[in-house]
Symmetry: C2
Subunit: 138 residues, 2 copies
DNA sequence: GAAAGCCTGCAATGGGATTGCAATGTTAGC
DNA sequence: GCTAACATTGCAATCCCATTGCAGGCTTTC
């Protein structure tokens, strides 16, 4: 089990410490993105700052991406396999449920070329959809 | 001049106080979205909290919308004329320049129906494009 | 086995958003 | 025109999350 996690860390040039494995192991299984506070609660009594720095390291190495879903609280989720240390997808699509407040990563969808004003150069696109998720939609 | 502003406020059911007129008058002329700190500086010595509450009131009444462009700092811009007290556009498109850090509202562009998972209901879409604006792109 | 470097955890800081409350201004009724 | 009721303003204080400083512990390497 944990071998996967360890390999994943090594593959991304992150030394697999106990703490990091705990954090990553928990994160990979999540269906939705988690905030630092979520992780702190779930992984208690692990130290919040250590989790925070683990996430930063992961993000730097392309294992995880951080999401600003408009709530003002940063959330984290594992990257799709084609993110690398030199950049993530340049298109992120997330869904925030008004009911349960969960943030889900959506499979990359076709985002059209936008009609930007003359001379404007697009480098990265973040799309946040708000609404109601399946579980809350009944 | 200010008659416009006053009427705009009244039309949205906001009492046109001196402070609110100053804030709104300044805001309508801006080509890009402003943070609270921007407004505080521009409107000195007006009180920051008062500006903040004016913006909240404006937002509530559909005069202004707030933007979270991913910088962690909320910015504000006037709504297009078809925003009302019962909801704003459900599609917001903004552009953040990596050079000058300005946030521009883009004219509503064609945003395609996204392939949401089964039973997911979309109510609002926020699209933030990051890149380089015309002024910085040379 | 010792030095160097990385990792961890506690404490403290920073910055923006938000609220409490008293003072002031505005409105409406008489 | 006066007064009571209500809305707005401004100061101070608080809250919350993100971030950093630093010292101690662990790991790795030679």
């Amino acid at each position: 089990m944990k071998d996967n996690i360890e390999q994943l860390l090594r593959a991304h040039d992150v030394s697999p410490t106990a703490m990091r494995m705990i954090v990553l192991d928990y994160l990979v299984d999540q269906p939705s993105a988690l905030s630092l506070a979520d992780l702190e609660t779930a992984l208690r009594p692990a130290d919040r700052i250590t989790i925070y720095r683990s996430l930063r390291t992961f993000e730097e190495k392309g294992l995880v991406h951080s999401i600003d879903d408009g709530s003002g609280i940063t959330k984290y989720a594992c990257c799709a396999s084609d993110c690398g240390p030199f950049g993530h997808h340049d298109v992120h699509v997330h869904f925030v449920c008004r009911g349960c407040q969960e943030t889900y990563c959506l499979p990359r969808t076709q985002v059209p070329e936008l009609g930007l004003p003359q001379q404007f150069l697009s480098e990265e696109v973040n799309l946040v959809v708000k609404g109601v998720c399946a579980a809350c939609n009944r």
